[in-house]
Amino acid sequence: MTVDDAAERLDRAFTALGDPVRRAMIARLSRGEATVNELAEPFPITKQAVSRHIQVLEAAGLITRSRDAQRRPCHLNAAALEELTGWIDRYRLAIEQQHRRLDAVLETIKEQEK
């Protein structure tokens, strides 16, 4: 996997999540699989609009749909979400390392002021 592929996948995933309805759908699916009708229930939007949202999430690799069962439930793609959190975690790690060095500098300042 090249860095560019990963970056493109991240772009798609973040674009997909840049919508409150789709974020709510992801939150719902984090509690277990759901059918299109179940996902549509909390929203005052057409079934067509719900299907479009699901297609965007599917294209971004964030969810998958069972091919066999007639009700075709949606599932969360845990690996894709882990990639997203891993991405923010690396950024967090870089900042956290910086903050720990700042902690050490502050300890030195406090020693000097004693």
Binding site: I95, Q98, I109
Partner: protein, 158 residues
């Protein structure tokens, strides 16, 4: 341990970082503005920092260069507003993308002996915000590669 909270809502051009420090606002402010102290902590792990200019006063400016095995990375900006021990509003720019300038507002909140620092960064677009976070990812990968090199070098010398 003090936890760093980073919020980067999808589809927005903002990054919010919140962290508490076991020191007074005056001490944290000093670590954040003293040119002698800045190179001791600012920037990613494993890079050296050359501070060329760091005048943390209203209308002042800063410029520094990070160096690692792969090259140099220059950063610069101006201090728009500096209120000692309370607030800093500054611009931030990477020389590699001079058209992307972000605006950072730092606030130092007195918690009675402790200080909560909030950094609110506003980027010109969602894309440049995402690019900034992604560069953190690349730095992380560079760090990992460098560590791997060290491990391999040690193994080779055995």
């Amino acid at each position: 341990m003090n936890e760093t909270t980073i919020t980067a809502q999808p589809g927005t051009p903002f990054i919010d970082v919140v962290r508490e420090f076991d020191a007074t606002p005056a001490q944290v402010y000093r670590a954040w503005t003293d040119p002698e102290l800045i190179p001791q902590w600012l920037g990613p792990h494993g890079v050296t920092m050359e501070l060329i200019e760091y005048d943390a006063t209203t209308g002042g400016r800063y410029r520094y260069i990070h160096r690692d095995a792969d090259g140099e990375y220059g950063f610069r900006g101006v201090f728009h507003v500096v209120v000692p021990n309370q607030r800093i509003v500054q611009t931030f720019q990477y020389d590699g993308s001079p058209d992307e300038v972000s605006l950072e507002t730092l606030t130092f909140e007195d918690l009675g002996g402790r200080t909560r620092v909030r950094t609110h960064s506003v980027f010109g677009s969602v894309e440049s915000r995402d690019g900034m976070v992604a560069s953190g990812m690349e730095t992380g990968q560079r760090d990992s590669m460098a560590r791997l090199d060290e491990v391999l070098a040690r193994a080779g010398n055995r």
